[in-house]
């Protein structure tokens, strides 16, 4: 195992990213579920940049060449992330549409009541 300037830089960058995620969590800018997910991902990147041999062990255990192992794991994580985000966006869109429909009808009822009150006066 050889620690170079680049591996240390990657490790420091991932630690900074973890710190930033924790700050976002404190400010309520990210939910606990996503904070845990991002912190885990940055931890994996940080640790494997310092100890790249870990990947060899995992790749051998999986019976794959190291580079394919990295590509497959990365693709899997990215696709899972995109799927999760798309599903969240879809849910939010449905909720937003229902909310806008309900609010619009409520606003309309208020307008009609106001108009009736003015007519009575």
């Amino acid at each position: 195992m050889k620690i170079t300037l680049v591996t240390v830089a990657f490790f420091l960058l991932s630690m900074a990213a973890i710190w930033h995620t924790v700050q976002q969590l404190r400010r309520d800018q990210v939910g606990i579920r996503y904070a845990v997910m991002w912190i885990s991902m940055w931890l994996v990147i940080g640790v494997t940049s310092l100890f790249p041999d870990l990947l060899n062990i995992l790749a051998q255990a999986a019976g794959m060449h190291r580079i394919f192992f990295i590509i497959i794991i990365t693709l899997f994580l990215l696709i899972a992330l995109i799927f999760n985000l798309m599903s969240r966006i879809n849910t939010l869109e449905v909720r937003q549409a229902r909310l806008v429909r309900a609010l619009s009808l409520l606003q309309h009822r208020i307008d009609v009541q106001d108009a009736n009150t003015h007519d009575t006066k």
Binding site: V94, V100, R101, S104, Q107
Partner: protein
């Protein structure tokens, strides 16, 4: 006296909406009175003001949601005022649906006792002159929906329809469950068929839009219909739904 609640969903239809509303008010159907309701789907033009100036009640959506969502709002707003013996007519606000067909819808509802009467462009007099994509794809979309619902429609996608207010009120919970309001025709008929509502048709001729162009593509529409069918069939609320 029962009321015909004519609902129009409109998005940037300032140039079309006035003449359509005038056409509706010009109708004189013995034994019925008219009421118009426009749902303005977040238009950026003067649609809302012009509709009000022409005597329509206007519900304005706080943002543009699409025709299906606007239609659901129009049903809810119309049902808030309608009695069960009333009729709710849904029509487009682009000038393609001629209000002079409204008496035919009422007559058909009275003759057949159906819950819904759908305007059929296929049975209409000018279908031979319809655009290629409509002539080619529409029968296939309708056949697909007929297969799923058990209805025998010739045109399931036409937005000119009449509903008995009482029937629509009975399925208002079903409408709350709708998942794909952008392609509302497919999902609506699937859910209404399971609820046990009956459908009849009348022929209608489709006029040219007064102004502007339609933005709906038939391929995209077909994908949306398929998506709506699959989603509805997989929906747990649909599976639990019982005839009303």
């Amino acid at each position: 006296m029962p009321t015909i609640h004519v609902t129009l969903t409109a998005f940037n239809e300032a140039r079309n909406i006035g003449p359509i509303l005038d056409g509706i008010y010009a109708l004189d159907i013995p034994g019925w009175r008219n009421r118009t309701l426009v749902v303005d789907d977040g238009s950026r033009d003067e649609t809302q003001g012009i509709a009000r100036d022409h005597g329509a009640e206007v519900v304005r959506l706080l943002m543009n949601l699409g025709q299906g969502h606007a239609l659901l709002v129009s049903f809810q707003a119309a049902l808030a005022r309608a009695e069960d013996r009333d009729v709710i007519i849904e029509m487009d606000a682009d000038g393609q649906h001629d209000p002079r067909f409204i008496p035919d819808f009422i007559k058909r509802l009275e003759q057949t006792g159906a819950d819904i009467v759908v305007g059929s462009r296929i049975l209409g007099s000018n279908h031979a002159n319809a655009p290629f994509f409509r002539r080619t794809f529409l029968p296939h979309y309708t056949a697909l929906i007929n297969r799923v619902t058990g209805y025998a429609m010739t045109d399931s996608m036409c937005g000119f329809r009449a509903f008995r207010a009482g029937s629509l009120r009975r399925v208002s919970r079903v409408m709350d469950d709708m998942l794909e309001p952008q392609y509302i025709a497919a999902e609506m008929f699937i859910r209404f068929a399971k609820a046990g509502l009956t459908v009849e048709e009348i022929p209608i001729a489709l006029a040219d839009r007064f102004f502007g162009t339609s933005r709906k593509g038939f391929i995209r529409y077909g994908m949306g219909v398929l998506n709506a069918i699959v989603k509805t069939k997989l929906d747990k609320n649909y599976r639990r739904q019982r005839p009303i």
